[in-house]
Symmetry: C2
């Protein structure tokens, strides 16, 4: 069976679980009616199933290559990207003034997720453009916007993000690329950047790089960083690609997966660039787009998980092995309890992470529609959870997908291993999952835990409402939320940040676990209200009874503090 | 820093934690004095560090290849195998009558683990021979033993295991390869076998295959299976490789990792074979060696974890990024709390799984030294735990190793990704980890939970002893053991096997978690008794406070039963 985008799940979450009516009642998103969102999900689903999914294997087998300084992309990727562009999917949430569709991020997130499940390495290209579009919308001059945005939104040109340098990864502030004022409104940008996803390609008329660099005399650290737009070809007076700029691809990385996506080392030698935003405002401009970029990477993890799940399910429905332990079963390994356990764990975690991601996108839409700062705080709080949990689910589910395949999972022909290899990087790029967790317990709890507690209040109020219909599930979610609240108090109460950081990763995961329980319960409630089949209730029961209890051990870990982490010295670690 | 075999850890476990004095007081292992074991560990360590570890990368970059029907192995593998053979490491535990060293499996296990950490794909070759040696020792005729054992033990010839067929994987009983009596004491074996590790090579004088097949008219299922020894070259009257036998390599698999190990599809066309054991006794013969083979695969996981840990630690000690959050730190990322958390989790789980594996090997040695059936039951009970937990630790630790490397982890040059790809198969072959868990709650609890409870009694008695020295740790271990005891009662009380199977994987993992806590506590006690530095106590504290609590959530999952697993029907799963 080929890939089939999980259109019903997105529609259910949007129409029945999230309060989309409120969003539609705003001026900004009044046009995102149920008919429109339904049609969009269907159409994007067709693109994913028919055009993108068939490209996935070829990207792995025939990686992007650097030939004489030119990046040659994998077979069919040019056509795949053209189809994405023609559908308008790059600029779904972009400003209509420049050709965008102005749709909610919730929809864009759903579409990004389904494209990721179909062909992760190709989907990364439009995701990069989306980040650039957002940065330019917020920070570029009108002239730059008028010239670049329509071409990026239409897919005629593509965009990249250039932050990392060999000595400056998680510590962006250590970067040393330089920009000097040319005196004519442009800058000469020089330096080397690494890990540049889709740093070049052979299908776009131009590749536009957003590059972080320092002006001469700029202060050290992040405050001295400015942002520059550096196109591969300098636009001529008609806005068409003209002279070749001083930027080149030095090499492509040989990676564990995601072979269809060229990961470049980029060299800038006095390349002509335009400053985006104010001098020294590079990091601020990056932060603008970072939330959505992180949400986008979280969606990549979830999409890959969906693809891996479908592949494993299809295999389990086909593969005969052993006597079926149940009467009237399918007669294949799907009848075995442990295979069921694996499949249900995959499905339950996919739903949990998907619901968290769409809740995060919804909060950012409500904020953008002017519905209050609390929504912005909600989105900011959910973003690192979405990114880290979504990508952890991607890794764990694709890993389980390999396991469901048995020996066939380790053999590359099935594609199960590819999901596992491809998705691995999502826990690393756009801020490692450790960085996400530190963001959650640090920056996102500078409010003393207010955003967290508001969320926990909601979870508990909803659990109270659900008590009549689903007493056991509601109680389990309520109890878990209380345990999480105690841990949240502990975390927010630590003035020494390192005490928080010591348990940040287990804390984030526990928060995701509890949120997942909440959203599964909400799904069961929504299904009941709509008179559904009971399938969502059953999945919720699996999650709440078997996966949710994990939060206890995690929260013990989360509150154990930093001291013991440093008790063993370096010699002890090496012994 | 290159790989360095964890010699001190093995020695500490053998001399200070396990009761090796009792083993040495037996006739069988009287010669394994402290001097001997120490010298052996040192010498094996040197081989691993100096000869095997340098081959690891090349095996990945230059996979074994099939050229005109001949398997060409990776660069240096022939020399590496020769070095293993010359050191006597293949036949460490084999019968001295045929050239073996007759040493305890505990030592063989330690050496197998360190070789796995150095070069997993090559280590798989001697591991296969070890399995064959054991099967022949127990079931072959004297003539076969005299001819084959010295050559397998010396490494002049190598051995393989041929169980799986396309339609018969976990369900071995479904195999259809056939053997017909030639009337001269030999059989004509025909059929296709898949996933044959080291199915052929270009460095051994002969490759000897143990093949499961059916005689005409044999009953269906496992009872109709017999075992045959089929050499690539039929030995002539002098026992030297003679005429080519009717066995060939059809193809090699293209795998996610372990590229240096040729995984073959084997074709048998009226190949001449000798029956090993009795007619219909193939599975019984396989079971003889299965415990040690599974222990060996568990050690592979632990070894890979050790290698991945060392690589990650070296990177963390070198890589500068961000301000150090602690005074007087190393000035590299090892100072960051989350990196510490990752490294300590890796180290603590490696120790736990290593201690479990050596406890299992020790129990099998005590059994073989005639110290009572209880030891055999102990070994049988610990075997699936060692295999599944050891390989799960291998996968999780190598995964964390990638994460510690950040972006460099996803790039193949560092070797971090290779550990992760290579070790993945260990959770699949020699019985998937799901099969291990079913073995644990099924066959290994046919005693009503006696072996389990005897272990729990010991854990609790030891915890009582440790209460004075380490009250908090001792109490945590004791409590965890009690929780596990309740779950064990529940599991053993289920007469419907599917109820047990539904939670088998989380039950196995929880058992490993508790055993790990016990063994960490024992290590702290042993260190204290020896007046050590306190490093083992600190690591124990990390494990017991942060990782051990995981058992609670797992045991909730373990006792949730089968019903909910089947509540969602196949259509629901596909939606």
């Amino acid at each position: 069976m080929p890939y089939r985008a999980a259109v019903d799940d997105y529609r259910f979450l949007i129409e029945d679980v999230l309060d989309f009516a409120s969003l539609r009642s705003t001026d900004r998103f009044a046009e995102a009616t149920e008919d429109v969102t339904g049609a969009i999900l269907e159409e994007a689903g067709r693109l994913c199933n028919d055009v993108l999914a068939p490209l996935q294997r070829g990207g792995d087998l025939h990686p992007a290559k650097l030939e004489n300084g030119v990046v040659r992309t994998s077979p069919g990727y040019a056509e795949g990207f053209a189809a994405i562009a023609e559908g308008g999917w790059i600029g779904m949430s972009a400003d209509p003034e420049f050709g965008g569709m102005g749709l909610p991020m919730t929809l864009t997130s759903a579409v990004n997720e389904m494209m990721s499940g179909a062909c992760l390495s190709l989907q990364l290209a439009p995701l990069m453009s989306q980040g650039q579009i957002e940065a330019l919308e917020h920070h570029a001059s009108d002239a730059i916007k008028t010239l670049y945005l329509p071409k990026l939104i239409s897919g005629e040109w593509t965009g990249t993000m250039n932050l990392t340098e060999p000595q400056a990864g998680s510590d962006v502030g250590a970067l040393s690329s330089r920009a000097e004022d040319n005196g004519d409104g442009t800058y000469a940008v020089s330096g080397q950047k690494i890990y540049i996803s889709w740093g070049d390609n052979d299908f776009a008329g131009n590749v536009c790089h957003l590059v972080l660099a320092r002006l001469p005399g700029a202060p050290a650290g992040t405050k001295g960083i400015s942002l520059f737009l550096v196109p591969k070809f300098i636009p001529d007076e008609n806005g068409e690609p003209g002279e070749r700029n001083g930027v080149s691809v030095v090499s492509l990385e040989h990676k564990m997966g995601l072979h269809g996506s060229p990961t470049a080392v980029m060299q800038y030698d006095n390349a002509k660039g335009w400053m985006i935003g104010r001098e020294g405002g590079g990091m601020a401009a990056m932060f603008t787009m970072m939330n959505n970029a992180r949400l986008g990477v979280g969606e990549q993890g979830i999409g890959a998980a969906e693809g891996a799940y479908q592949l494993a399910l299809d295999y389990a429905l086909e593969r005969k092995q052993g006597r079926s332990p149940v009467e009237g079963g399918a007669g294949t390994i799907v009848d075995h309890a442990d295979v069921r356990r694996m499949l249900l764990s995959m499905k339950a975690d996919i739903f949990a992470s998907r619901a968290i991601a769409l809740s995060c996108a919804y909060a950012s839409d409500m904020a953008r529609a002017g519905q209050g700062d609390e929504w912005a705080a909600r989105a900011a709080f959910l973003t690192p959870i979405t990114k880290a949990f979504g990508t952890d689910v991607g890794i764990a589910v694709s890993e389980t997908g390999v396991q469901v395949h048995g020996g066939m999972g380790f053999v590359e022909e099935t594609g199960a291993a590819q999901f596992s290899r491809d998705v691995r990087v999502t826990a690393i790029y756009e801020g490692t999952n450790g960085i996400q967790a530190m963001d959650l317990v640090g920056r996102k709890m500078m409010d003393g835990g207010e955003a967290a507690n508001r969320l926990l209040d909601e979870i508990e109020a909803d659990a109270e409402t659900a008590r009549d219909a689903f007493p056991r599930m509601a109680d389990a979610v309520w109890q878990a939320s209380e345990t999480l609240r105690e841990a949240t108090e502990w975390v927010a109460g630590q003035s020494d940040m390192n005490e928080r950081f010591a348990g940040a990763v287990p804390y984030l995961r526990a928060f995701a676990r509890v949120l997942g329980g909440h959203l599964h319960l909400q799904a069961a409630m929504a299904e009941k209200a709509a008179g559904g089949s009971g399938a969502r209730e059953k999945l919720a029961r699996f999650y709440i009874q078997r996966l949710l209890p994990e939060h206890q051990g995690l929260l013990a870990h989360a509150q154990a503090g930093a001291e013991d982490l440093y008790a063993l010295d370096v010699e002890d670690l090496s012994r």
